[in-house]
Symmetry: C2
Subunit: 178 residues, 2 copies
């Protein structure tokens, strides 16, 4: 079963303590995780799918309000680890925003510092390649673009540089303790 980014996030979230769909919706509304939709039509079907494939174990609590909470299974743990090993989409233009950060957090939690440093290395390389490509484009064909387009690309380049910088800081920081 091919996990979506949301699937992976859900499996991650119920790992430490079991949570319900409603808990997760609250989380998405109130934290920077909210890049994912908090709509019931997105979360509940995903949870149901994951339970069907036995990557999560659901249990309906009796007493008080009706409430179905989930926890991660061993198979879920394996699936999450497999998701982490999937090759990262090389082209940053195609990655959904926040995906790198999400992978980073899950990986640091699940696989430890050494593996995460390796991941940061890949990300650094991917961003650096992309940056060189854009710089080359701007020096060549892109030079004739209008001012607004050049400005937008400038923002893009600065954003990539920021991410590269962050990667390198993280590599240093995590390398010291692995």
């Amino acid at each position: 079963m091919k996990l979506t980014t949301l699937d992976a996030l859900l499996i991650f979230l119920v790992g430490h303590k079991s949570q319900s769909g409603y808990d997760i919706r609250q989380l998405f509304q109130s934290t920077p995780l909210g890049m994912f939709s908090d709509s019931p039509g997105s979360i509940y079907p995903s949870l149901a799918r994951l339970e069907e494939h036995e990557l999560l174990a659901g249990s309906t609590e009796s007493g008080g309000r009706r409430r179905r909470s989930y926890k991660r299974t061993a198979a879920g743990q394996k699936a999450l680890a497999a998701w982490l090993e999937w090759p990262l989409e090389r082209d940053p233009r195609k990655r959904r925003s926040g995906e790198v950060e999400l992978r980073f957090v899950i990986m640091a939690d699940a696989l430890g510092a050494a593996r995460t440093v390796k991941f940061l290395d890949e990300v650094d390389t991917a961003y650096s390649d992309q940056l060189r490509e854009i710089e080359a484009f701007m020096g060549g064909a892109g030079a004739q673009m209008n001012e607004a387009s050049r400005a937008a690309n400038d923002l893009g380049m600065r954003t990539i540089r920021l991410h590269i910088e962050w990667c390198r800081e993280m590599k240093k920081k995590m390398g010291r303790r692995s």
Copy 2:
């Protein structure tokens, strides 16, 4: 008809000179615009839809290779202007990446510097609000997060600050000539 981001981009692209689906695919492959899919299954149906609604006018050229190219209609121009006026999704976590930049470029081209400065103002405000929210969160509930999560949020905040900075530079630059 509610335009998708891709729709708006297509209408914009065929505005200055008429282009075919193939031209646009090439563009998406070779430029930073490639945040959009260059797959035929995405571009051709969208072009067909837009032609059906008469926002684009298609014409099959005779002679040489079979080739259907599109140009913007007056209705297309109006629809694009209407798209620009749609309220920007306030929550930056929900915006697809690159949407602000795309709007900026199209707006600068279609509506001129004064309106674009106003747009940059809104964006600045939205980002600043969001930044304050995250900072508050990090000072409160978020303080107990693990190190990796804090680092990811730190990247998020830095990215927002970069965007705010860019907005203000652009406002200054464009304000001088409007």
